[in-house]
């Protein structure tokens, strides 16, 4: 069942997740489309996350004011409310980021930059309540990189200082899977008023929509986005894993099948958190693959 809607106020809104940053100069959402999106959210009892690259204009803010929402994006649009979620990249100058000890922050890093993570966490000390680290190309994780990654987690864990860092603290706190569930729990509405599984799907192919604000939602083969229809993931207890269906499709061509790298990354994280019960495998494919 849908729980929230991601509204992309402009097609250049930077990525908050695994998919890459789009190019600049993208189309902006017209006010009448936003009105329909807000109405859709109201009538379906959905929470709203708003993506944008620049602070929105007054009438856009007025329209959004009709429903509870948070902004996710660059500091310029997320600094005013404690609920808003800034998105940082590991290459940014993090020491100048003002932060707020009550805020959630997203920090994006690729595999190659992961050795900078402990330093980044130090630079952000006192500036967040919860840090969500997204390893944007985690499909590149290989068994050879595991030892290095484990060491990075150890170092980062020592710096967590009682605060939540998803890679360090999430798995131990979960009693059930906490995947992204794009296509099931949330959809994205793009500036053109069409629905997409998530912004990554929109950027990859704007023709790959699943309905529109005018015609309603229709997700073809919706069941394939559900955990029950994911043969590897449904056997897995790396519950903190985002099980990114966008990355799945990019790497394996199927939304319900993860890449090996995604599984290895998530199992290193899982085993770090559940030290007493490590899995004998790093990829649950080994349990079920033919």
């Amino acid at each position: 069942m849908l729980r929230y809607l991601i509204i992309m106020l402009d097609a250049s809104a930077p990525s908050f997740c695994y998919y890459p940053d789009p190019s600049s100069g993208g189309r902006k959402m017209p006010l009448e489309v936003l009105r329909k999106a807000v109405y859709f959210a109201q009538t379906h009892a959905l929470g709203v996350n708003v993506l944008c690259s620049d602070p929105p204009e007054k009438e856009i803010l007025q329209e959004l004011d009709r429903i509870n929402h948070i902004f996710i994006g660059p500091s310029s649009v997320t600094s005013d409310s404690v609920w808003n979620v800034p998105v940082l990249n590991i290459g940014d100058n993090l020491s100048v980021f003002p932060g707020n000890p009550d805020k959630n922050i997203i920090l994006r890093s690729d595999v190659a930059s992961l050795p900078k993570l402990p330093e980044a966490v130090s630079a952000l000390k006192g500036k967040f309540l919860r840090l969500n680290v997204i390893i944007t190309d985690e499909w590149k994780m290989t068994p050879e990189l595991v030892t290095v990654f484990q060491r990075i987690l150890e170092q980062t864990g020592r710096l967590a200082d009682g605060r939540q860092i998803n890679l360090i603290t999430d798995r131990a706190m979960l009693s059930k899977p906490s995947h992204c569930e794009a296509g099931v729990k949330h959809l994205t509405v793009a500036p053109d008023g069409r629905f997409y599984i998530c912004p990554g799907f929109f950027h990859e192919n704007p023709e790959d929509s699943c309905g529109s604000l005018d015609e309603g939602v229709s997700v073809p083969l919706e069941e394939l986005y559900r955990l029950e229809c994911a043969p590897i993931c449904r056997e897995c207890d790396a519950w903190q894993c985002k099980r990114c269906v966008w990355m799945n499709r990019k790497r394996t061509l199927e939304v319900n099948t993860p890449s090996r790298g995604q599984c290895i990354t998530s199992h290193v994280v899982r085993n770090y958190a559940l030290k007493d019960s490590p899995t004998p495998y790093l990829d649950p494919f080994e349990l079920i693959g033919r």
């Binding site: 229809c229 043969p231 790497r251 061509l253 890449s259 494919f285 033919r290």
Partner: protein
């Protein structure tokens, strides 16, 4: 009671199957052919084929099966007999030089339309490799049935006569080989006479399947059932069941399936490997561009960079229930109801292999009814034979006593 069963597949079907799509050309333009992009241009070069062999033989960890079947398909594979001959020599030589375990456990396999089977180059190849060969000639039945679909390119001339003249030679070389027959909607009225005709040509094993595509018309299932029941009567009344086999009538079909023990995928896509003239790898030939009507090919690597294991994962984790719609999960006659992963992909509303096409549904149900009829009749026959035997024993006993 003696009942002939189908030939078991070589090495119990556990061998690695590697398919070389040596050409996309064929002398024929069969009307049911799934190869939508046939052409004369894409012929495999020796260099590409060699690179594929080098990659495969060089990675024993990935290709760890004990045996291998090298399959050559087209188009019509024997159009490329020069390439095939050179390539098979190279494979044998490399298996020997690398001290590869497959050296003692390999086969070359062909499915041919049989038209140039008699030609010298083909016959020389057969003579050279005869201990490691399996060759199937596909013939659809009577000339009327065969020529309905299997016509020459750019003309409507049927190919029956050119194929049938090679059957005796083929059977003398491969007496136990069967033939494959493919049934589409217009073929249904010819089924009985076609199977009987193939028996009359000396072919003892006939593997038949209905096409998986959405071709079936209203009433086809009833007609199909009639044909199969009539065929069952002939097979039983004329005693063919003792030494001939027809895959329509197979013991264990038409019952519900256990959700846990019987959850495997039907199709072997992903367990096999196909390579085309461009050196691209596919999980099965049906995923190459020339086989697909409406979807992009699924390329899982190439001879230069090897196989992208991530692209293979969906194929290796597919199971029956995940891809089956509700009706199939609860189906009372599910056992034996087949699917083709490539057709599933081609027919799906989105590009996925996880959606089973059920175009074949009513044909499978009709087959189940005819199969039940066949086995019920055979059982009755067996009971009667038993009764006869008992009677004879009684008579014999009475004779002794009297």
């Amino acid at each position: 009671m003696q009942i002939r069963e189908g030939n078991a597949s070589w090495r119990g079907g556990m061998a690695k199957n590697i398919t070389f799509i040596v050409t996309k050309d064929c002398q024929l333009a069969c009307k049911y052919c799934y190869l939508v992009g046939k052409n004369m241009k894409e012929r495999m070069s020796f260099e590409t084929a060699k690179a594929a062999v080098d990659y495969i033989l060089g990675d024993r960890k990935q290709f760890a099966e004990e045996s291998v079947v090298f399959d050559f398909i087209g188009g019509e594979p024997f159009l490329e007999i020069d390439l095939i001959d050179r390539l098979c020599d190279y494979i044998k030589q490399q298996l020997f030089l690398l001290d590869h375990p497959w050296f003692n456990s390999y086969r070359f396999s062909f499915s041919t339309n049989g038209i140039n089977y008699h030609e010298k180059k083909v016959q020389d190849f057969i003579e050279k490799n005869k201990n490691h060969l399996s060759i199937g000639i596909t013939i659809d039945g009577t000339s009327a049935k065969h020529d309905l679909n299997r016509v020459y390119k750019n003309s409507d001339r049927g190919s029956y006569d050119d194929v049938v003249r090679n059957i005796p030679l083929w059977l003398s070389q491969f007496p136990d080989m069967g033939t494959k027959v493919t049934i589409s909607s217009p073929d249904i009225p010819y089924i009985k006479e076609s199977v009987l005709h193939l028996y009359s040509l000396g072919i003892k094993e006939i593997n038949v399947n209905c096409v998986f595509e959405e071709v079936w018309q209203e009433g086809d299932d009833a007609l199909f059932e009639q044909q199969l029941v009539a065929l069952a009567d002939e097979i039983i009344d004329r005693g063919f069941y003792r030494d001939h086999y027809c895959s329509f009538f197979t013991g264990d079909i038409g019952r519900p399936m256990d959700p846990e023990r019987e959850n495997q995928n039907w199709c072997g896509a992903g367990m096999m490997l196909s390579v085309d003239a461009a050196g691209n790898f596919y999980p099965c030939t049906r995923f190459a561009a020339f086989s697909l009507r409406s979807k992009k090919p699924i390329i899982i690597g190439n001879v230069r960079e090897g196989i992208d294991q991530d692209k293979l994962r969906p194929f290796l984790t597919l199971d029956r229930l995940t891809q089956s719609p509700e009706e199939c999960r609860n189906c009372e006659v599910a056992a034996g109801c087949a699917w083709c992963q490539g057709e599933n992909y081609d027919a799906a509303p989105k590009p996925t292999i996880f959606r089973r096409s059920t175009a074949i549904c009513k044909m499978h149900k009709a087959r189940v009814r005819a199969n039940n009829y066949y086995w019920t009749r055979l059982e009755r026959l067996e009971t009667k034979e038993e009764i006869e035997k008992l009677k004879n024993r009684e008579v014999a006993c009475c004779d002794i006593l009297s």
